[in-house]
């Protein structure tokens, strides 16, 4: 329509206007800072590097600054992770900061039925302390818990973990990394003696066989796929996934195994490798233990039996095993398809076993490599003081407690002697009335938790629910009693650790809106008001806490003591752990175990295995379909609290929840693409849109996890070792929606 301000009286002589204000807006000028040409409006006066705050790839982003404030960004060319690239979420990282629904002040709801009202920070912090203390006074220190996030800085996680457990006397606290990485952490701890993903991204470029298990990296980690495509060895790329995902299409081979037959399949491959004597005995003898028992265990997994269970032909099984055996540098990579399973720890270890028995560990282009989910899941795993004591230690070990008490100069009795409850146990605890107060930081449980409705129901039993988030509109913030407004990525300093153990910096390049404070500063306020401010007088700024984290890491496998300070990280474009005091940084692509020495007491990696079990929920004639869930697109991040705030990302994402169904199944129910369908599990019934596709096998359905309805369907079962929820297997039925 007409914009009166823009109307100018035309000049008759200019019959074709090649120049003018509208043209000038887009004209590019030679860019400084090595950025190339940019429109005038976007010319920065300085740039600085920060790592992306979405996924664990940990891309380096060049933040374009004007008067100290971020106006734009682009991939950082000489960052060793992404080589100047970024996925759409990275490109749009600044947009969610400008969302209109940012939480600007604390909000308090005095009754559950009432609307939340803005209150002052002082009142909010007083309420926080008062209410939680009252709960603890009445029900004990085990009656409160916190749920944190892999999306905040390591320093913030460490502060929270120390504050809650050593300062406020809480015992229970977990993180949403339980939903993505607990399995990998547990598997590595048991097999390698420490939670230590051994690889560096350069391995993608150096393998001649790349095996991706339950990992759709084309859209989940697009920048890692970039590294795969840069591989000059014409690698064989094998994708193990029930669905024909984007990655399966791009791979050289796709094995569409039956859902949750992964453990059996992997043991079956081990069986063939052993039978054909395609194993590296020298390596096994020198660096591992438990192989003989494992050999015996795999005898049961004959090709015929595995073929029946997995749906792959015997020929395919042999092909698969042959390729592993004859690859010179075979790398195994897994993500959520493995981690989010009912026996995920053993599955991850089955992958580790394959790498160990074929000596594909510690050399370039090899490894049993877990691709992490969240940007700082790796920080959370080591330094959040939740599932393990600081620095990958054990709460139950007196020596570890002593060590931490010593480093932090705190009384030993401040350190809990018991492990915290895991995420699911905390929720069960609420249900059982044991946990009465919950503090959720930077995660959206009411959307992401498996069998979500149960959580929503149970949350009503809480006496006090605090949600600390950037937005007052998240599903979880909406049911909170108290909302604390948090600054987000880009509004605070700190470090994050990516999948390949690289510590990178996030920086404050935007002013937080309203009275939002960084999580770090909120913890400071709470520490002070709770009455343990003195105990945290060394915890003054993120950088000071980083120095504490260094101390905590000393002599652990994740030793960071060689990193002087933030400037050093900035200058080096991220530094991978370990980096001990006195070490000299010679390479930006470092991997573990090149010496074959693992972190177990015997320095040997362990073969760990167990008989597979069926998922606890089975399909039956009422619910004849297996529902798979997973990443929907590269432009969506988890529960969409941030990525859903960008117009560009929304334009690149599906606009409604679609369920993928095979055409044979669709034909039987007379379902066509675009039809409204009802998908129902024993827990809930939801309505969505059908997408008929050959990419999914008959008997299976797929839904992207980003839509809030999906986790109303999922069945809450958990891996017994990692307590990670099994999102990838629920029994459902589907029918055309009756209008």
């Amino acid at each position: 329509m007409i914009n009166l301000k823009r109307i100018k009286i035309p000049d008759i002589k200019k019959i074709r206007e090649w120049k003018g204000a509208l043209t000038a807006e887009l004209v590019q000028f030679p860019g400084k800072f090595g950025l190339g040409r940019l429109p005038k409006r976007l010319e920065p006066d300085a740039t600085t590097t920060a790592v992306c705050g979405f996924c664990s790839t940990g891309c380096g982003l060049d933040i374009h600054l004007k008067n100290g404030e971020a106006i734009n960004l682009s991939g950082k060319t000489d960052y060793p992770v992404n080589l100047g690239m970024a996925c759409p979420k990275g490109w749009e990282a600044l947009s969610p900061l400008d969302a209109p629904d940012r939480a600007l002040t604390p909000l308090y709801r005095s009754t559950r039925e009432g609307d939340p009202k803005p209150i002052s920070w002082e009142s909010a912090i007083n309420l926080f302390c008062e209410k939680f203390k009252r709960v603890m006074d009445t029900h004990g220190s085990g009656s409160v818990a916190f749920l944190s996030s892999g999306q905040i800085a390591t320093e913030e996680m460490a502060f929270l973990g120390a504050l809650a457990k050593f300062g406020m006397g809480w015992i229970h606290g977990d993180s949403n990394t339980r939903q993505c990485m607990a399995t990998a952490a547990t598997a590595y701890k048991q097999s390698f003696g420490f939670d230590a993903p051994p690889y560096t991204y350069q391995d993608f470029e150096e393998s001649d066989v790349i095996i991706l298990i339950g990992s759709n990296i084309c859209i989940a980690h697009p920048i890692m796929w970039q590294r795969v495509l840069r591989n000059k060895n014409k690698p064989e790329i094998i994708v193990i996934d029930p669905r024909k995902t984007e990655t399966a299409v791009a791979a050289t081979r796709h094995y569409a195994l039956s859902p949750k037959s992964d453990l059996t399949l992997l043991y079956g491959i081990a069986h063939i490798l052993i039978q054909e004597d395609w194993v590296k005995h020298t390596y096994i003898e020198a660096h591992t233990e438990g192989f003989e028992d494992f050999k015996e265990h795999t005898a049961h997994f004959t090709p015929q039996m595995v073929s029946e269970t997995s749906g792959l032909s015997v020929k395919e099984l042999y092909e698969f095993a042959y390729t592993i055996a004859h690859g010179k540098r075979v790398s195994f990579w897994w993500t959520m398809g493995v981690n989010q399973g009912h026996e995920s720890t053993r599955t991850a270890q089955a992958i580790i076993n394959l790498a160990l028995m074929t000596a594909n560990v510690g050399r370039p282009g090899t490894g049993a490599n877990s691709i992490t989910g969240q940007c700082n899941a790796m920080g959370s795993r080591l330094f959040s003081n939740t599932s393990s004591l600081f620095g990958g230690r054990d709460f139950t070990k007196a020596s570890d407690r002593l060590c931490v008490a010593d480093i932090l100069a705190i009384p030993l009795d401040k350190i809990p002697v018991n492990n915290s409850l895991a995420y699911d146990q905390i929720i069960d605890g609420i249900d059982e009335g044991k946990i009465k107060g919950l503090w959720i930081i930077g995660t959206n449980t009411a959307h992401s938790w498996i069998n979500q409705e149960r959580f929503r129901r149970i949350a009503q039993k809480l006496e006090f629910l605090v949600v600390q988030d950037m937005y007052s509109t998240t599903d979880t913030a909406q049911i909170a009693d108290l909302v604390l407004p948090a600054a987000g990525w880009g509004e605070k300093n700190g470090t994050m650790i990516n999948s390949e153990r690289r510590i990178g910096l996030i920086k404050k390049v935007r002013k937080a809106p309203g009275e939002a404070l960084s999580d770090f500063n909120i913890f400071k306020l709470i520490a002070n008001a709770w009455g343990c401010g003195a105990e945290f007088d060394r915890w003054n700024s993120p950088e000071e806490v980083f120095q504490i984290i260094k101390d905590i890491s000393k002599d652990q496998p994740c030793d960071l003591t060689g990193i002087r300070d933030y400037q050093m990280i900035d200058h080096a474009h991220g530094i991978q752990w370990p980096f001990r005091e006195g070490d000299i940084l010679t390479s930006d692509q470092r991997r573990l175990f090149s010496d074959g020495l693992f972190f177990t007491p015997t320095n040997r990696a362990k073969f760990i295995f167990e008989m597979p079990n069926a998922p606890s929920e089975q399909i039956n004639h009422h619910y004849p379909f297996i529902l798979l869930t997973g990443r929907g697109s590269s432009s969506q991040w988890h529960t969409l609290t941030r990525s859903g705030k960008s117009d560009v990302l929304n334009a690149l994402s599906p606009d409604c929840l679609c369920v993928e169904i095979n055409q044979e199944d669709a034909a039987l129910s007379n379902i066509y693409t675009g039809d409204s369908v009802t998908v129902e599990s024993s827990r809930k019934k939801i309505i969505c849109v059908a997408r008929v596709t050959p990419n999914i096998k008959p008997g299976q359905l797929f839904m992207p996890m980003h839509f809030v309805e999906v986790n109303k369907l999922t069945q809450d079962s958990f891996d017994p070792y990692s307590r990670q929820p099994s999102y990838k297997y629920s029994a459902v039925k589907i029918s055309k929606t009756k209008s």
Partner: protein, 577 residues
């Protein structure tokens, strides 16, 4: 957005007092100030401002040509479908590095799904402007705001030349030109020609992690050949129309029966209400004028009816013209419309309508000369002036009988031509719902029916004149019935196999646009059939009934024309992500 800070920067204390309990208030004050202070520039070493060469060039230098195209060649995007992994970084980078509006997107990524249960998986397709050999946008632009660069072949858009008519959006089969309501103009991909000029890669090329997009030099002969052989992508517009330059390559065969991810997605298009109103009112106005001219020629209308009917026709027509201006984002630049006459039907439409406005105004003034002069002479303050006026009166009486018939015939011819140009504006877009077999009967039907309505109304109004009104009523009823039935015949396409565009239109009209479609049918039947038939029965208020009838019909026509825009299913590249 950010409320003013309550504390001044000067309050910032270097050190928060340690180990001493501080009040929440004091601590908070410090923390809020700290939260607002941006220190990244001071704290960290900077990339030097004087690096003028693009650092990323080392990765993309092989993806752009070092030479300019020779004669008979042009630049083109080349997309390696094997390498496109659906990450969509190209879209974001284009958006960020070109400084586009918040929701403005020049590139898109879609997907092709296999149609049968074959081993073949999906194929993701990144697409932007194809910098066609015969660009539809350029051909349709009424003000030549498009330029196909003679050297590079890049189809550039002159943002300051654009009048925001959005006709290029309708002409481009690839959904490339994007209208910015905020700027009032179209903007589109220019292959980052500024960057290419200085040997920098376009944003999308720079940003593709998989090196799936590059710029190549292709011969125009090869573009034509590929277009002639229909070589492009499955479920995409016919390349023969505009001859797209983009080359899609793949090592695997791409079966031609693959379907875009949004193949059967129903999208309601913009209703373009100013255009809908413009089309209905100009056609109604032309109908009134035409019917008046013919009516008066065959002697069925009295002089007074002639005057009022022509005047009303002109007013309605002008209302339509005024509405068309509201459609433009930059109406004051529209005077350049004649630049596109050589190729653009929109230019021709504007010309025809302009001439018609002029003619109709002269004509109506002529019809009204007598009463105007009479009035002036009666109310003249001086006898001298009134005498002079009466002298002119005589002159008018001599000249008009010779001139008026010529003007009348010209109006008829220009009027029909103008409606024809309107039909062509839409018919040449190749959108199935707008092809001339659909558009012509609709537009012409509007002209004829409003003409009949005009005759009916004015005959009723000036009852003194004996005309067989029954015949007129039946003419209205029959033509309205035909028009409505004709429109509803579209539903026959619901039985078409697959999902051709015209079937999508029919599904839209039956489904998401059902309410509007019902409004159209009900008001059409009420105004065009039921109420006119009521006139056949004896009733005391024929004029009221006729007015009501006209009102309902008008409402129905507005709805019909709005649906004409809303229900069209344009061609586009495979989408659906």
């Amino acid at each position: 957005m950010i409320p003013p800070l309550k504390y001044s920067e000067g309050d910032l204390q270097e050190q928060i007092p340690r180990a001493k309990p501080v009040s929440t208030k004091d601590l908070l004050q410090n923390l809020l100030i700290e939260q607002r202070s941006l220190t990244a520039v001071e704290e960290f070493a900077q990339q030097h401002a004087d690096i003028h060469h693009p650092l990323q060039a080392k990765y993309y230098q092989n993806l752009i040509p070092v030479n300019l195209p020779q004669s008979g060649e042009q630049f083109a995007f080349e997309v390696d479908l094997d390498r496109c992994s659906s990450c969509k970084a190209c879209v974001s980078a284009c958006h960020s590095l070109n400084g586009l509006g918040d929701d403005e997107i020049w590139r898109s990524v879609g997907v092709l799904h296999p149609a049968v249960n074959a081993g073949q998986g999906q194929v993701t397709v990144t697409t932007a402007c194809h910098h066609c050999l015969e660009p539809g946008c350029l051909e349709g632009c009424p003000v030549t705001a498009y330029e196909k660069d003679v050297i590079t072949g890049i189809v550039r858009h002159l943002n300051d030349q654009c009048i925001g008519c959005q006709y290029c959006v309708m002409k481009c089969p690839y959904d490339v030109p994007k209208y910015s309501p905020h700027l009032g103009i179209i903007r589109k991909c220019d292959m980052c020609h500024d960057r290419l000029k200085s040997l920098e890669a376009p944003a999308c090329v720079q940003a593709c992690p998989n090196e799936a997009i590059k710029i190549t030099i292709v011969s125009t002969a090869s573009i034509s050949e590929r277009a002639a052989n229909g070589v492009f992508l499955p479920d995409s517009p016919d390349p023969g129309y505009t001859k797209p330059g983009t080359v899609y390559t793949s090592s695997k065969p791409i079966p031609s029966n693959m379907l875009g991810g949004d193949h059967d997605k129903l999208i309601i298009q913009d209703g373009h209400w100013p255009l809908a109103v413009m089309l209905v009112l100009t056609q109604a106005g032309i109908g009134f004028l035409g019917a008046q001219i013919i009516g008066s020629a065959v002697g069925v209308l009295p002089t007074l009816a002639n005057r009022w009917m022509a005047l009303l026709g002109l007013i309605i027509f002008s209302g339509g013209m005024a509405s068309s201006i509201l459609h433009l984002g930059q109406p004051l630049k529209a005077w350049r419309f004649f630049l596109g006459l050589r190729t653009s039907w929109l230019s021709r439409e504007i010309l025809a309508f302009g001439v018609l406005t002029l003619l109709a105004t002269v004509y109506v003034l002529a019809l009204w000369t007598e009463p105007i002069l009479e009035g002036l002479s009666t109310h003249s303050p001086s006898r001298l002036i009134s005498g002079w006026i009466q002298g002119q009166y005589h002159w008018v009486q001599t000249i008009y009988p010779a001139v008026l018939p010529i003007v009348s015939v010209t109006i008829l011819i220009v009027g029909i031509t103008a409606v024809f140009t309107s039909v062509m504006v839409y018919a040449v877009t190749r959108r199935q719902f707008w092809r001339w077999e659909v558009t012509l009967p609709r537009f012409l039907g509007t002209v004829i029916i409003f003409g009949l309505f005009g005759l009916l109304y004015f005959t009723l109004h000036f009852r003194s004149f004996p005309v067989d009104i029954t015949l007129l009523i039946w003419a209205v009823v029959i033509s309205c019935t035909f028009k409505i039935l004709g429109e509803m015949s579209l539903f026959l396409h619901l039985r078409d196999r697959g999902h051709p565009a015209i079937k999508r239109t029919a599904i839209l009209l039956r489904g998401p646009l059902k309410k509007l479609m019902l409004t159209r049918i009900i008001s059409g039947i009420a105004g065009g059939i039921f109420l006119p038939l009521l006139l056949l029965t004896p009733n005391g208020h024929p004029l009221f009934v006729a007015s009501l009838s006209l009102g309902f019909w008008l409402l129905g026509e507005f709805t019909e024309r709005s649906l004409f825009f809303k229900a069209v299913s344009p061609d586009k590249m495979p989408g659906g992500i």
